[in-house]
């Protein structure tokens, strides 16, 4: 589980936006992430796996274990759906 090459996250005026720039002349697709999403994205970039993402979420935010697990699963599902993961 890894972010495909060429997808980058930027913060623009308080918005977390992911676009595909690798090898493309012009990018088309873009995805907005909320604060938690951006937090998870940065961990994922560093190679965290699903369990590590949930652990990071638990540590950073005051959420129950089940909720963290569920949020991470939803986040990964969203990325897979967008074709961002390999």
């Amino acid at each position: 589980m890894k972010i495909k090459n060429g997808y980058v996250l930027k913060e623009i005026a308080g918005n977390n936006i992911v676009v595909e720039v690798g090898g493309k002349v012009n990018f088309n697709g873009m995805m907005m992430l909320n604060e938690t999403g951006a937090f998870l994205w940065k961990r994922l970039e560093k190679g965290a796996d699903q369990a590590e993402l949930a652990a990071a979420l638990l540590e950073e935010y005051d959420v129950p274990y089940d909720k963290a697990d569920e949020d991470v699963a939803l986040f990964l599902q969203k990325l897979k759906g967008a074709g961002v993961l390999e």
Binding site: V8, K10, E11, I12, A13, G14, N15, I17, V19, E20, V21, G22, G23, K24, V25, N26, F27, N28, M30, M32
Partner: protein, 229 residues
């Protein structure tokens, strides 16, 4: 030949009537080194023509050079905004919409309402640059289907995205809404995303964005002006 466009020295050799005519007001005798060199790729124009049979050779040269210029502009704290830019009392108001979205019509209405106080800086593709901490709007030779452009600049006051409607209404956009709409009305070269994103960050923080639903009456202008001025 050397041109001064958006305060940049641009070198190119136009051959087609359209580009020659529209770029003439921007000719300069400056001996400054060119900031942007536009090498017109004639082979590319032939391919472009084949893929778009409705375009003439002149059109292809005009469109192609515009694309090269606006991509290069990203290297100079600048970007393209697909909009009609009106200068009123020396400040620029941008009206953006997709093609056929009524931006030229609305800009023309400003001239009608305000007379000599207002004129069009660029009817389709103004250049936006951040210079000395300020966003400036520039006319360029590339103004879409019309030749409505003037070789001048004005500080940017506000940007509105237009939507045609039967009632006139204007609302302020959130940063997120502004960002998504703006990204659909500019060039997005992947290789320049770092530069574009930092410019967009400043632009959205410093300039107010609106959504304007409007008809084609003088009332539409007043509605927009009251909120944006």
């Amino acid at each position: 030949m050397k041109y001064q466009i958006a305060s940049l020295i641009v070198e190119m050799r136009p051959e087609g009537k359209t580009l020659l005519a529209r770029s003439a007001p921007y000719l300069t005798a400056s001996d400054r080194k060119a900031d942007i060199q536009i090498n017109i790729d004639r082979g590319r124009l032939v391919r472009m023509r084949k893929e778009n049979p409705h375009l003439t050779d002149d059109d292809c040269e005009y469109i192609h050079t515009g694309e090269v210029f606006y991509k290069a502009l990203l290297g100079f704290d600048g970007m393209l905004v697909h909009a009609s830019a009106v200068a009123l009392d020396r400040e620029a108001y941008l009206f953006s919409a997709k093609s056929g979205g009524g931006k030229s019509t609305h800009a023309a209405l400003w001239q009608k309402v305000f007379g000599e106080r207002a004129h069009i800086v660029n009817d389709d593709k103004p250049a936006l640059r951040r210079i000395d901490g300020k966003f400036m709007v520039f006319g360029t030779p590339w103004s879409g289907k019309t030749d409505l452009n003037t070789n001048e600049s004005a500080p940017l006051k506000a940007i509105a995205f237009l939507e045609q409607g039967t009632k006139n209404k204007i609302t302020r956009l959130s940063a997120k809404e502004a960002l998504l709409m703006l990204l659909n009305q500019t060039l997005r070269p992947a290789a320049e995303w770092n530069r574009l994103s930092s410019l967009l960050d400043r632009l959205i923080k410093e300039i107010p964005f609106y959504k304007l639903t409007c008809d084609i009456s003088a009332d539409a202008v007043r509605c927009a002006y009251d909120a944006m001025r």
